[in-house]
């Protein structure tokens, strides 16, 4: 694990231009600065996502990414260091984020896949969870941990030219498990263009920042599907499933 503590120095005008946005006032920026974001995977999708959160001023990022850097990762994993092929990826990503985010950013980087216990533990402190993993097992794990903690969850994924983002309001909207109760059986060496994975990662980052800032609009409980080849956006309302165990856990937490 790499833990990079923040410096006491605070950047002055670093975020002035984004605070010109009508939805992001000083109070919203303060909320972002004081927030903790838990992210599973910082590869082709989660890397640009985490990068945008870091430069936007998020105060603490906790990331998990297993495995060593491969040459074939370098076409999309923008947080990794090309000269460090063969070394663990989570630590590399944490170092890059720390450099990008500046002195106010605290980063915890783990070089393994997040476990259920770790997700539960970190969701006690995190304000939001963001799933950017390539497997449904890991994304559902994060969905369940966020909902059990009564915290929002943003899920982002892609395959080839298809992308999707889902924002979950714990106990109020439909969740990823309502939509996909069990991991699909199809597995593949997914084709990926960095331009597409970064695009959906940044859409998820934009929504996560709005949620953290307390701004809207947020498409809670809507699967936002974008096909980059057809240039076609589809929004699908995801109803809460009566038998969803993750939503039931969220309801127990909110009582």
């Amino acid at each position: 694990m790499l833990h990079v503590a923040p410096s006491p120095a605070v950047a002055g005008n670093r975020h002035r231009r984004q605070m010109l946005l009508p939805w992001l006032d000083a109070e919203g920026q303060r909320r972002i600065r004081e927030s903790t974001v838990l992210i599973s995977r910082v590869g082709g999708l989660g890397g640009p996502l985490a990068q945008s959160l870091a430069v936007a001023g998020v105060g603490r990022i906790v990331l998990f990414h297993e495995g060593a850097l491969l040459d074939e990762d370098l076409h999309r994993m923008v947080l990794m260091h090309p000269e460090r092929v063969g070394e663990p990826r989570g630590s590399q990503a944490a170092e890059t984020l720390r450099r990008l985010g500046g002195p106010h950013l605290e980063v915890h980087g783990f070089d393994h896949r997040i476990t259920e216990d770790e997700a539960t533990r970190w969701m006690r402190e995190a304000d939001i969870a963001v799933g950017a993993a390539p497997t449904y097992e890991e994304r559902l794990l994060l969905n369940d941990a966020a909902l059990a903690a009564g915290k929002p969850f943003v899920d982002a994924a892609m395959y080839d030219d298809e992308t999707h983002v889902l924002c979950v309001d714990a106990g109020k909207s439909g969740c990823l498990r309502c939509l996909v109760p069990e991991p699909p059986p199809w597995r593949a060496d997914f084709p990926v263009l960095a331009a597409v994975s970064a695009m959906v990662g940044n859409l998820a980052a934009s929504l996560a920042l709005r949620i953290l800032a307390g701004a809207g609009p947020i498409p809670w409980g809507e699967l936002v599907h974008f096909d980059a080849a057809r240039i076609e956006l589809t929004r699908v309302r995801v109803p809460r499933s009566a038998g969803c165990p993750a939503c039931a856990a969220a309801e127990r937490t909110s009582r």
Binding site: A157, Y159, L179, W186, T234, V236, R237, P239
Partner: protein, 91 residues
């Protein structure tokens, strides 16, 4: 009754369809319409519809609302579009 089915790109590939949309004469209930689609796809449907029923992880969308397996007891209107989406996974 004619129902238009639209499949996302990856799903259309798996189903062996040259085009991502297809129109079929089907009964008006959503489960029966899905069965008609599976029959039309034929052998290519085997991994998508084990045992003759659409795999539960395939998303079925009517009028912008997802219909998970437990919520598919609905009646379609003539000319309505049923969208089928394969959950994407990658990053």
């Amino acid at each position: 009754m004619t129902v238009r089915f639209e499949l996302t790109t990856r799903l259309a590939e798996l189903a062996g369809l040259a085009e991502p949309s297809i129109e079929l004469d089907t009964p008006s209930s959503l489960p029966e319409a899905l069965r008609a689609l599976i029959t039309r796809i034929g052998d290519a449907a085997a991994p998508l519809a084990p045992g003759g029923s659409l795999h539960p992880s395939i998303l079925v969308v009517v009028d912008g609302l997802a219909h998970p397996p437990a919520h598919r007891d609905v009646t379609l209107r003539p000319g309505q579009t049923v969208r089928l989406m394969l959950p994407v996974a990658g990053g």
